[in-house]
């Protein structure tokens, strides 16, 4: 899964602080412009570090929260095959969150702080997870569309300028491809089934199409961080470029299984070789960013409950390790 940069507060352009050595800054800019990777102990501007911590931790949170809408369906999967697949996928999402938290930690953020920021509502995660998963067909739509959009975003991030982030993305992309394929296969199976099943698949596409397009983040002219992030090679492509690519590849996939994309303005544009598509309801997007998503409260509630219910296990493990270490010292 993926999150775009959703920061609302510090949208001011990060300016190099006066304390930063211009020679170091110039050397850094030159390295990045030359497509070199920056590694954890290398010198980097504070704004670069801050932007990365925010982006990587938001990305990690999205993976973790992303387990919730699907976890809901594990016990309701219609066959053992589908259940095993969904379990493996949800476990992958947890793993992706862990790779990303680790990458953010190399920049000096602590795991504890990041988790606290998520639970207190201070940190953002992808808006897509604040929509409900109403039917089994939604599991197909999530894999096909949501993971499909995530892949579109993450493939260029494999060449992002920060080494640990890029390496985490390589691993994530390798694993994510099965997520999208299983979702499409599930949707395909529904479309080849009864009338009711096909209607269910269409209904899921109707509800997930627009939120999936919003996953790429605000339009370029409303995304003030994009320019700096592209210059620093944190982002490699703009929100609108990625969104267009997603539409171009996904529309034929829908048509191939007899589903209609819920956009009356959607039309192939011969001149530019892309699909034209309708206006996105950005008011809805910003409302979800503000925490007004349909199931935003339930998601955080489920997450915090899981964390709190697991506290005794973490405490027991800590106590056990301290005791064992003490016994070892005593024996020596």
């Amino acid at each position: 899964m993926y999150t775009t940069d959703l920061s609302g507060k510090d949208r001011k352009k990060p300016a190099p602080s006066a304390a930063e050595d211009p020679a170091l800054l110039a050397a850094f800019e030159a390295r990045v412009a030359n497509d070199e990777f920056i590694e954890p102990k290398d010198w980097m501007p504070e704004a670069y570090r801050r932007t990365l911590v925010r982006q990587i931790s938001q990305h990690a949170h999205s993976e973790i929260v992303g387990m919730l809408p699907e976890g809901n369906w594990i016990t309701r999967a219609p066959s053992l095959r589908r259940k095993a697949i969904l379990l493996a996928k949800v476990q992958d999402e947890g793993g992706h969150g862990l790779y990303l938290y680790s990458a953010a930690e190399t920049l000096g953020a602590s795991r504890e702080e990041m988790i606290e920021a998520l639970h207190s509502g201070k940190a953002k995660y992808s808006t897509i997870f604040n929509y409900p998963t109403l039917t089994w067909a939604d599991i197909g739509a999530i894999g096909w569309l949501v993971d499909g959009a995530a892949i579109m975003n993450q493939v260029p991030l494999q060449r992002t300028s920060y080494g640990p982030y890029a390496r985490a993305m390589v691993r994530v992309c390798k694993e994510e491809s099965f997520h999208q394929r299983q979702g499409y296969e599930l949707t395909m199976a529904l479309c080849a089934g009864s009338k009711e099943q096909k209607r269910m698949a269409q209904d899921a596409l109707n509800r997930w199409w627009w939120p999936s397009l919003m996953m790429f983040g605000p339009p370029d002219d409303k995304s003030p961080n994009t320019e700096q992030s592209i210059r620093w090679r944190i982002k490699r492509e703009t929100n609108d470029e990625l969104r267009q690519r997603f539409v171009d590849v996904t529309v034929p996939q829908a048509e191939a299984i007899g589903l209609a994309v819920p956009d009356p303005a959607l039309k192939w544009n011969e001149d530019c070789g892309h699909y034209d598509f309708g206006k996105i309801d950005w008011e809805e997007f910003y409302a979800v960013v503000r925490g007004e998503g349909q199931v935003a409260k339930e998601r955080m509630q489920a997450r915090v409950t899981a964390w709190e219910d697991g506290a005794w296990v973490r405490n027991a493990a800590t106590t056990y390790s301290v005791k064992r270490a003490a016994a070892k010292v005593a024996a020596e």
């Binding site: 102990k41 493996a88 064992r324």
Partner: protein
């Protein structure tokens, strides 16, 4: 609660290859670190052996010293076989 210590994870992909850094995990002790490494980094037959090492135990060179440490090798091209020109008719060398 304080974070558990950080451990670096190394995986041997198959016999004959050396262990390679894969990432890191938090764990209360070594046994748990191995279990977390297994769950986090080897879900798809990525390896046949795991190492975990407390991150705090790793001593690394400072990137600022990269010049003095690694540059001297650049002017010693005579360490490479291509530095020596040998006529074409001399074989097996």
């Amino acid at each position: 609660m304080q974070d558990w210590p950080l451990w670096e994870v190394f995986i041997r992909a198959k016999g004959g290859l050396s262990h390679r850094h894969a990432g890191s995990v938090h764990a209360a002790d070594a046994k748990m670190a191995l279990e977390h490494a297994r769950d986090t980094y080897t879900r798809r037959m990525e390896g046949v052996s795991l190492w975990v090492i407390p991150s705090a135990q790793i001593i690394s060179s400072d990137p600022a010293d990269a010049g003095p440490l690694f540059e001297p090798a650049e002017d010693k091209i005579y360490r490479h076989p291509t530095f020596y020109s040998i006529p074409d008719h001399i074989k097996h060398i």
